[in-house]
């Protein structure tokens, strides 16, 4: 539970205060020009030296009842809590950046409680709290009870939550008779501002508190929320925003997010709480030699188990669901002491997850193996050690995870990084250095997605009539959309109205219509209903339930569909590749797939000793951050750094230098070598798996065109290997410039275009955009199953649209996503620019130590050069075999 009380322990840590750009300066013309992403004025580092209007340094006034409450518990309010109170009392928006355990949440609510205690709220909604997790909203509501009661406000302040689980009668009542404080999620805010009564509901709103803002802004949810906030700023002109965030690389981006960027750019005040105790962080060294590839870290499991034995409650973080399954299984095999160890990941049944959380909170567990599901938010119990298994992938991510241990800011969090292979040792070393320097690698601020804007525009039409000019100005006030052009806005409007097609076929079916008064209105109640059903930006991949089936006693080998309990859900994509009899790891058990029945995957428990047959490790979901990648390259390039590495890694690098070469930090090493009648090209860009997969696709194309007959490739986070039937070393020696041509930046032109045509990932991206923008309807659980015959395949839509209107808004939106998302084209582009003229080629007679890592991926993954026809031909051959037998 997030305990608000504990945050106020009486140790005063300095808070740094930086006033933002005043909201009320004159909207002079020159200011418009400086609407760049940079702050218009350098914010002075000293406390409250500038700012006309109310001085931000004005000392906060804490009413006696509050001071008494603090005193009664032997506490004093912390400086940052008072600073935030002062900002709020001056009606200024502010960003509080503080490490875990600094009492951010109480700081966020203190101004609200003070104002309401003073009776300034009268009736109506005073404060809106928005968190990325509905569970967090519920938890905060519960934890506000203590201070509210302690200060004697429970009779005067009404606090409620509103999530997807709130019953509809309560929601209706919340609009008619709102509480003082409403705790909710971005999706619910979108629904609320699209309500016909929104103007009335939010007119008197004074404050918005955004929790875990750093996590909210990095996705399309952040885009949607920013548009909602822009609407709130318009409905409630005196509104002050408070953002609560973990330490980030660029706090200014968040400061802009909090305040309107139109008519001029501005930033919220910044309050920073320094430091917190330094983390007690180590790489786990077991003395055993780690393999060159693989992600299971099985060699380290006894040591991990030993750590669990010696601590009270350990969080064991892994990167993927399947790693979680594996780790859990391994720990159980070692668990001679019968320690209570649990498993927690997003695919498990919700009730099972709740059980684990409750057990953690009750202190009956000794360890929980978990994925990113426990990265954020709620603290379930007194964690005294965090173990991160596998590659850290990013400095900020690892710091967040470490912060889950020991929520007292002034005591060190204790954590171990557990590398699974020798490359991950390098990555762990780089992450340790980054944590040591408190270097951050949170992502860049987003450019607002057009599909999200389309959803919002329809929502605004549902709320009431709007003028095009006004809505454009409002949207530009949201920082992700600050640079939105009028042309693009008009395109979005056209898309919402009639689909945005050059062939203007749907004019008479328009969803929003411009009346004679020039205002846009929603067509009818049904359209508004459709909007409500499809709101939000989270597109769950379609899942199927995993249900334990009973064996049919009368018919050996057959199972009865009904009866068994549901273990959780697996992605439909994964389920589709299973055939009866396949075994796989799930929910901590080895399961045998028995077939699909309606929407459920039926399974039985595998016999003891069965090995899971499906190589289901899908790699890390998070690509290696650019920042850590650069550090790993630097480590490799500098032999003086090697004594800080485990000896086995240093030896490995020495071997590499002897057999091939070690590239400089900005170079790209390309090795070519023959092996078993094939010719390989291995290269090591260190740009993350997604960028490498894209690069692999493009290189394969180019090699095919130059007659090298590539057969496929494999990629991981560090590099990729392409294999061909023709001798690459010979070709490179014969043809100077061949390699430079191969890696030329122009591959991001036509080759990329052609590939996008048929890329399955691009189609998946398009599908998400199409759902968010309302082109196709969300599949609601329980409502599906009408048979594929009537559902419309987005792949077909994609093909048709790409052919007939390649510039369509949704294709642009998908492309924008692909640039940073699944295909990571942006990162690939930066890499190609970096390595021009810096390619180091080594022709070898056999595989180098470095290349072994990526070579081991071959066969474990599917070969990318493999097309549909090969699969079909193989299936056909089976028929021929049958006929000839």
């Amino acid at each position: 539970m997030r305990t608000i009380d504990r945050a106020a322990i009486p140790r005063n840590r300095p808070a740094r205060y930086i006033p933002g750009v005043p909201k009320t300066s004159s909207p002079a013309a020159p200011a418009r020009k400086s609407r760049s992403r940079k702050a218009p004025s350098g914010a002075p580092p000293a406390t409250g030296t500038t700012a006309p209007g109310p001085s931000p340094a004005l000392p906060a006034t804490l009413p006696p009842a509050f001071a008494d409450w603090f005193a009664a518990r032997g506490w004093a309010p912390r400086p940052h809590q008072l600073a935030l109170l002062a900002a709020a009392q001056s009606r200024r928006s502010a960003l509080l950046v503080a490490p875990t355990g600094a009492g951010k949440t109480l700081a966020g609510f203190l101004p609200t409680l003070v104002e309401l205690a003073e009776g300034s709220g009268k009736g109506g909604l005073h404060t809106l709290y928005i968190s990325p997790l509905k569970a967090l909203a519920v938890d905060i509501a519960r934890n506000l009870e203590a201070p509210v009661a302690g200060i004697g406000l429970e009779q005067r302040i009404r606090i409620e939550t509103r999530t997807g689980d709130t019953p509809s009668h309560k929601r209706t009542r919340q609009v008619a008779r709102p509480p003082h404080i409403l705790l909710t999620t971005p999706e619910q805010l979108a629904l609320l501002i699209a309500h016909r009564e929104a103007a009335e509901l939010f007119r008197g709103l004074k404050r918005v508190v955004l929790d875990e803002l750093h996590a909210l802004v990095t996705s399309k949810r952040g885009d949607l929320l920013s548009l909602g906030l822009a609407r709130l700023h318009r409905l409630a002109p005196g509104l002050a925003m408070t953002g609560l965030s973990a330490t980030v690389r660029e706090p200014d981006a968040l400061r802009r997010y909090l305040v309107p960027q139109y008519p001029e750019a501005a930033m919220a005040d910044l309050i920073t709480v320094e430091g917190g105790a330094r983390a007690d962080l180590h790489m786990l060294e077991t003395g055993r030699t780690l393999p060159l590839a693989g992600h299971t870290a099985w060699q380290s499991m006894p040591a991990v188990y030993d750590l669990i034995r010696r601590h009270k409650l350990v969080l064991v973080f892994v990167n993927t669901r399947l790693q979680a399954e594996y780790t859990f299984q391994e720990l159980w095999n070692l668990n001679d002491d019968g320690l209570p160890i649990a498993l927690h990941h997003g695919s498990l049944d919700a009730t099972q997850r709740r059980k684990v959380e409750a057990a953690m909170a009750a202190g009956v567990l000794r360890a929980v193996v978990c994925t990113a599901t426990l990265d954020l938010g709620i603290d379930w119990g007194d964690v005294d050690l965090v173990i991160n298994i596998g590659a850290p992938k990013g400095a900020s991510r690892i710091m967040q995870r470490i912060g889950r241990a020991n929520h007292r800011m002034d005591e060190p969090s204790k954590a171990y990084l557990v590398p699974a292979n020798r490359f991950e040792m390098l990555e762990c070393r780089a992450a340790l250095d980054a944590v040591e320097e408190a270097a951050q690698d949170t992502p860049d601020p987003r450019i607002g997605a057009l599909d999200v804007l389309a959803q919002h525009v329809l929502g605004m039409a549902c709320a009431g009539a709007f003028s095009e000019d006004d809505l454009y100005d409002e949207v530009r006030a949201a920082s992700p959309y600050a640079d939105l052009t009028r042309e693009d806005f008009a395109l979005v409007l056209d898309y919402v109205a009639t689909g945005g097609y050059a062939l203007r076929a749907y004019e008479r079916f328009a969803k929003i219509l411009r009346g004679p008064d020039g205002l846009w209105r929603v067509r009818d109640a049904r359209t508004a209903q459709q909007y409500r059903m499809n709101v939000g930006t989270i597109i769950e991949s379609t899942k199927v339930k995993v249900r334990l089936a009973r064996r049919n006693r009368t018919k050996p080998g057959a199972v009865l569909p009904a009866g068994g309990r549901v273990l959780g859900e697996i992605e439909e994509d994964f389920a589709e590749t299973l055939t009866v009899g396949d075994t796989f790891l799930f929910a901590g058990e080895i399961l045998r797939f028995e077939g699909l029945h309606e929407d459920e995957a039926l399974v039985t428990r595998g016999a003891p000793g069965t090995d899971p047959a499906i190589p289901s490790y899908a790699g890390s979901k998070f690509p290696l951050s650019t920042f850590l990648a650069a550090r790993v390259r630097a480590l490799i390039a500098d032999p003086f750094e090697w004594d800080r590495l485990p000896a086995q890694v240093a030896d490995y690098l020495v071997q590499q230098r002897r057999r091939s070469v070690l590239p400089g930090p900005r170079d790209l090493l390309v090795e070519t070598f023959p092996r078993a009648n094939r010719y390989y090209l291995a290269c090591f860009p260190f740009e993350g798996r997604l960028a490498h997969q894209t690069l692999g696709m493009l290189l394969t194309r180019r090699l095919e065109r130059s007659g090298m007959r590539p057969l496929g490739f494999a990629a991981n986070d560090y590099g990729l290997a392409v294999f061909c039937t023709r001798d690459l070393s010979e070709r490179i020696a014969r043809e100077p410039g061949f390699l430079d041509g191969l890696f030329a930046e122009d591959m991001l032109g036509d080759d990329l275009e052609e590939w996008l045509d048929e890329s399955a990932m691009m189609k998946r991206t398009f599908r998400q955009c199409a759902v968010i923008a309302g082109l196709i309807e969300r599949r609601h659980p329980g409502l599906r199953k009408t048979g594929r015959q009537v559902t419309i395949s987005t792949d077909l839509i994609y093909d048709v649209l790409r052919k007939h209107q390649p510039g369509h808004l949704l294709l642009r939106a998908a492309r924008q996503d692909a640039a940073t998302g699944l295909l990571d084209v942006t990162r690939l582009g930066m890499m190609l620019a970096r390595i021009q003229g810096r390619i180091i080629h080594k022709a070898l007679d056999r595989v180098s130590p470095l290349a072994v890592n990526v070579m081991l991926e071959i066969g474990r993954e599917r070969v990318y050069g493999e097309g549909a026809d090969e699969i079909l031909a193989e299936a056909e051959a089976a028929l021929l075999g049958e006929a000839l037998a």
């Binding site: 969803k511 070969v863 493999e866 097309g867």
Partner: protein, 255 residues
Amino acid sequence: MTEQRPEGAPLRHRKTITVAVSLKLEKTHKTPGATLAGETLILDLSGALWLPEHRTLVVSDLHLEKGSAFAARSGQFLPPYDTRETLANLHEAVARLDPACVVCLGDSFHDAQGPARLDVADRALIAALQEGRDWIWISGNHDRAVQDGVGGRFADTLTVGGLMLRHEPADKPEIGEVAGHFHPIGKVAMRGRAVRRRCFVLDGTRLVMPAFGALTGGLNVRDKVFDDLFPGGFTAHLIGDGRVFAISRTMLTRE
């Protein structure tokens, strides 16, 4: 590494960037033929059926104006290019084979108002396709009410040689029946990868055609429906990128 696409194969079936595949395909044979009730069937890569002895081209389930039907009915604005795309594919097949007769095997329009919503250019394209050849619209469950206004002749069933053409397969197997209606697709899953394609479904008695329309979904041939239609089993002819593949029922997986 040249593409092994037969000349004029529709763009919809663009070859993916595979190398291993084309190596194999260089050695593979032509579009498979089959016979039914003594008639030669050519299962065309476009999804059409070609009856060379009768110079007749059969296409099923065009679902023209499906996009606009959705817009009219539920406010979902699917790309209004499906009709154009379907007709372009049909045009390609017609230009290549030059049939004396074209049979549209029902559900040619997604709904009864489809013809009224046709874009002028698409209407002209249909007229051009019909020029100089016999054109028969078999009625289907979606377009039973369409009886005129789009050229050609209208019928519920049609006999071509030994073949009986109708939209919906009869309950009882009938030798020589060629039908559509079910939009069959077959799925092959292998080595962690699944390929899902439209297909012709055939036994010695009857043929169920794939849907020809650009925005038409499909029903997996492992659905019970097909067990009833083909009690003795069937072979599915899946439309690949470069050719049509004959695949036994045992190699096909469910959804």
